[in-house]
């Protein structure tokens, strides 16, 4: 019941927030933001508590998928409502909850009009994402995969910047078409299961025991891979990302970069690698090439941008390239690197996008040409900016370094030459990171800006704190996600 309560609790509180926003009951004026914050905090701590109590009582410690719920849903097609968790999904769900709080906090002042509907969409997206991370029935997974897409598109289309409709449509079409390919692969898998066992099944655990001919598996794997590569995103299907990230409101960008991209990586690990081990091993050189291309291309493009958010968006492509490279290296060190990179990038890109939001709030521009010399008037912001830029280019001591280092070390055993090229990406990231910092905070002060408020300091310091903790003591994640990967 726990996961169901979390998912539907989010949806329900979203609806309540929408309906009661700006209405007065018994002398108290309800505001959607307070309600959503409370809901996210309550459900988040409820989730953590039940996980802890569960982990203590059971022997398995979530190293394998542990089923929480399985009830028939569409019984004519043997589709179940099945939710399960393991350490990988728990890590990502915790990240989702943390970023959910950040998202609500960064929207605090930014979203004034139609706030009720905004928070409804935000919470619905969280619910969809948590569903994606926990669904083990493939139809249900696909269902959540789409459910998180609709409110996200609405967030971009309603509260986004000047070019929002185009960005929203592009985002939606890219994801939708690629996920239809995945749906075809899912259905085909279900029928292969029927051929082999006589029973139609969409259940993930059933599929693991299937013996699929490599010829077909190759195509099926590709169906899944394309859907996840679009979400990740990897070159050449990345082009929705810079638009969507740039046009989305701050919380939208945080959400997109922080968790939505991770659903792609999660899908690659859970479905592509585990369901089609042989096919993905055959495919690995191509995937690794795409990953290295993403790393270099992302870094190069990031360097060429003059839009703060666009720069960070391209840097995301570069960072997610490391994740894909690591995932397709098939060894434990690389996997751990991939997971640390996922979490670290979630935090650092969320931090940079929040910072972009704070700057936009002050000068109403995202262009780097309108920025400069902020250090003088806003030193605290500058300090955080420097730290976040350093995190993005992988300064030792911060989480990204650990992730990228492990990914590269792991991948080197398999693709030595590609890793050499990928490592060049690190230099690229140092360049664009410094460009970002210098253009924003150094140089001639154009106009004075207000320094960070207490709310903003809370956002920045919690993100930075986590980055440092994970950077100095990555065992928190490494220790936990160990079991998934064997």
């Amino acid at each position: 019941m726990m996961l169901t309560i979390v998912i539907f609790g989010l949806l329900l509180s979203g609806s309540v927030a929408w309906l009661t926003d700006n209405k007065t009951f018994a002398g108290v004026k309800f505001q959607a933001k307070w309600l959503s914050l409370c809901a996210v905090l309550t459900l988040g701590s409820y989730f953590l508590l039940s996980i802890f109590s569960h982990a203590q009582s059971s022997v398995q410690n979530f190293s394998q998928l542990q089923l929480f719920e399985r009830v028939p849903w569409i019984s004519s097609l043997n589709i179940d409502y099945a939710l399960a968790l393991d350490q990988l999904s728990i890590t990502l769900i915790v990240l989702t909850f943390f970023l959910a709080v950040i998202c609500i906090l960064v929207s605090w002042q930014e979203i004034q009009e139609k706030a009720g509907f905004y928070y409804f969409n935000l919470l619905a997206t969280f619910a969809g994402i948590i569903g994606v991370f926990s669904a083990v029935d493939m139809f249900l997974f696909f269902f959540f995969w789409e459910v998180m897409l609709i409110p996200m598109t609405a967030i971009i289309a309603i509260w986004g910047h000047e070019n929002r409709y185009f960005a929203a449509i592009k985002f939606f079409i890219f994801t939708q078409v690629s996920s239809l390919l995945m749906l075809v692969a899912i259905i085909t898998m279900a029928y292969i299961h029927q051929q082999q066992t006589g029973l139609l099944s969409f259940y993930y655990q059933d599929w693991l025991s299937l013996d699929i001919k490599i010829g077909i598996a190759q195509y099926l794997m590709l169906g899944f891979f394309i859907a996840f590569a679009v979400k990740l995103p990897s070159v050449p299907v990345h082009s929705w990302l810079p638009d969507a990230h740039t046009q989305a409101p701050t919380a939208g960008s945080v959400l997109l970069a922080g968790v939505l991209l991770k659903t792609g990586a999660y899908g690659l690990i859970r479905f592509v690698i585990f369901l089609f081990p042989q096919a993905s091993e055959n495919f690995a050189p191509i995937a690794a090439t795409l990953a290295v291309l993403s790393i270099l291309y992302g870094a190069k493009m990031a360097f060429a941008q003059s839009d703060f958010k666009r720069l960070v968006a391209y840097s995301s492509i570069s960072h997610m390239g490391f994740v894909m490279l690591a995932i397709f290296s098939f060894n434990e060190i690389a996997y751990q690197g991939a997971i640390v990179t996922m979490v670290a990038h979630g935090l650092s890109s969320a931090a940079l996008f929040s910072l972009a939001g704070m700057i936009y709030h002050r000068i109403h521009s995202r262009s780097l040409n309108d920025m400069g010399g902020f250090w003088q008037s806003a030193p605290r912001m500058g300090g955080f900016g420097l730290a976040f830029a350093a995190a993005a280019f992988g300064l030792p001591g911060l989480a990204n370094f650990v992730g990228e280092f492990l990914s590269l070390v792991g991948a080197f055993q398999v693709f030595p030459i590609m890793v050499i090229f990928a490592a060049l990406g690190l230099i690229g990231s140092a360049i664009y990171g410094m460009v970002l910092f210098q253009k924003t905070f150094q140089g001639m002060p154009l106009k004075p800006v207000q320094d960070l408020s207490i709310r903003e300091i809370c956002i920045c310091s919690s993100l930075l704190g986590l980055l440092i903790i994970l950077g100095l003591y990555p065992n928190i994640i490494l220790h936990h996600s160990f079991g998934v990967l064997t």
Partner: protein
């Protein structure tokens, strides 16, 4: 010869047949009664209520028979002409439901005129009768009978508001094209008859062998011509040219009638015929279906991209949707027929629900905004920022559009899921890629519709909000019910699909 023996055997009309056929008999009887009613007193209100009552009873009766145990296995054969099975009842229920919606919505359109519109309702009932004959027909003759009854009554309805700008053009276009379509179909039937010597669906499959044969060509041409007649009605590419003009020019409830009743009936009979005759075994026929399906998906979706008029947009989107639906005709073996029926009927239900919802809003909107102007046309721009001042209607509209686009939480997605299942079983990868690409293009016009509704109200038409609105009390409730239905069946499709099986 066996066919003749068959005929002699089944001409006895038993009580069982009477009961099985009772919904259609009730409908016909109701039409006669309403003629008498008109002779007795001409009152629009009365005839509207009476037609609604007839349709409701027909619906209830067919639902009752559907859940009853009368139908076993293959269904009941009633003379050689008709055969009632499980699926006919479902189609019949769908037809009655959409006809009910049309009759209900017509009240919104007709009230502004001075005349008494008895014949309008009568024609709708006749269209419904034609459609119900189609769904139970098991013989080319009864098919043609139903087809003609449907078309001729529709011609009358399409040009009904003769004062309006496009009425005459629309009526003529529909009349001429429809007549030529039925003549093609008749020729096709004649060709088929020349080869098989029998017009029954079931007998043909036994008589015709697909082995190469010197006169095989006639049969193929016959099937092709027959199919083109039906394709015209279903507005499949390349027989789609009338669709946007007629959709736009016809009174909106009649557009809905064409989009739902006529298409469901046509598709049902097409499926019946194809499956009974085993066309799916014929490679050439499958190729034709494949080409037409792909063309329809592509043309429908591409041409819808730049449409500003809602009715035209719906016309093009319907072309694409019936292109998708053709997937169910391409089945690999007899065992899949049941699943094909289930997929098709579910998809059709979703399609009908979405269409009824969208046209309901269009009609309400036409009434509200364009009351004074002569032109009754709604363009996408009229829906701007609707979400912020007319929440319920906008939510229904969004749900229906998402359903047409096939996004989860809606019935349309489950329908598309069924179609994909069907296509995977029959391994028709071309159709799958067509469906995927088509849906991708489709999003490019469905999403802007939704975004228009979400746009902020800078210079919107909020001033039209006034209590003096000609807003009848029933629509909001109707809209809420539609919303609930769309959500419910989108999330629990089993409650519907179990009914279909």
């Amino acid at each position: 010869m066996t066919p003749i023996d068959n005929i002699v055997e089944v001409t006895v009309f038993t009580t069982e047949m009477f009961i099985v056929l009772s919904p259609i008999l009730l409908l016909s009887f109701g039409i006669v009664l309403s003629l008498l009613l008109i002779a007795w007193q001409r009152s629009q209100k009365m005839i509207a209520v009476f037609s609604q009552a007839i349709l409701t009873f027909t619906l209830l009766l067919s639902l009752h028979l559907l859940s009853g145990s009368l139908l076993t296995g293959d269904g009941v054969q009633i003379t050689t002409l008709l055969k009632v099975d499980h699926f006919s009842y479902i189609s019949l229920s769908l037809i009655c439901l959409s006809a009910l919606a049309v009759v209900g919505l017509s009240g919104q359109v007709l009230k502004s005129e001075i005349e008494v519109h008895d014949e309008y309702y009568l024609l709708i009932l006749l269209v419904t009768l034609g459609a119900s004959i189609l769904v139970v027909s098991d013989h080319f003759a009864s098919l043609f009978l139903g087809f003609e009854l449907l078309s001729i009554s529709l011609v009358g309805l399409v040009g009904y508001f003769r004062e309006q700008k496009y009425a005459v053009e629309t009526g003529f276009k529909y009349l001429i094209l429809s007549a030529s379509a039925s003549s093609f179909m008749l020729l096709g039937i004649a060709f088929i008859y020349s080869q098989t010597g029998n017009l029954s669906f079931a007998v043909n499959s036994a008589a015709v062998s697909w082995s190469p044969n010197s006169l095989q060509l006639f049969n193929s041409i016959g099937i092709l011509l027959f199919f083109s007649g039906i394709a015209f009605k279903l507005s499949l590419a390349p027989f789609h040219f009338w669709t946007p003009d007629v959709y736009q020019g016809a009174p909106t409830p009649i557009t809905l009638l064409m989009a739902t009743v006529s298409k469901v009936a046509m598709f049902t009979v097409l499926m019946k015929c194809c499956f009974a005759q085993g066309y799916f075994n014929n490679e050439h026929f499958v190729d034709v279906i494949l080409v037409i399906a792909l063309l329809s998906m592509f043309i429908g979706n591409t041409l819808a991209l730049k449409q500003q008029n809602i009715k035209r947009l719906m016309a093009y989107s319907s072309i694409a949707h019936f292109g998708y639906l053709l997937i169910v005709l391409v089945i690999s073996s007899e065992q899949n027929i049941d699943f094909a029926w289930r997929s098709a009927l579910f998809y059709l239900s979703a399609y009908i629900l979405a269409n009824v919802s969208i046209f309901t809003i269009v009609i309400l909107h036409e009434n509200r905004i364009l009351q004074n102007s002569a032109e009754r046309e709604i363009s996408i721009g009229d829906w701007q920022s609707m979400f912020w001042y007319r929440r319920t209607e906008a939510v229904l509209l969004m749900l229906s559009i998402l359903s047409l686009a096939g996004i989860p939480l809606t019935m349309g997605f489950i329908g598309k899921f069924y179609l994909l299942n069907q296509a995977v079983i029959s391994q028709s990868w071309w159709l799958i890629s067509g469906l995927v690409i088509g849906s991708g293009i489709g999003l490019a016009y469905y999403l802007p519709l939704i975004f228009t509704m979400l746009k902020s109200s800078e210079n919107s038409i909020v001033e039209n909000e006034s209590p003096s609105d000609t807003f009848v009390k029933s629509p909001p409730l109707f809209i809420t019910i539609l919303i609930i239905i769309s959500f419910y069946f989108g999330i629990f499709p089993d409650s519907l699909s179990q009914y279909i099986m």
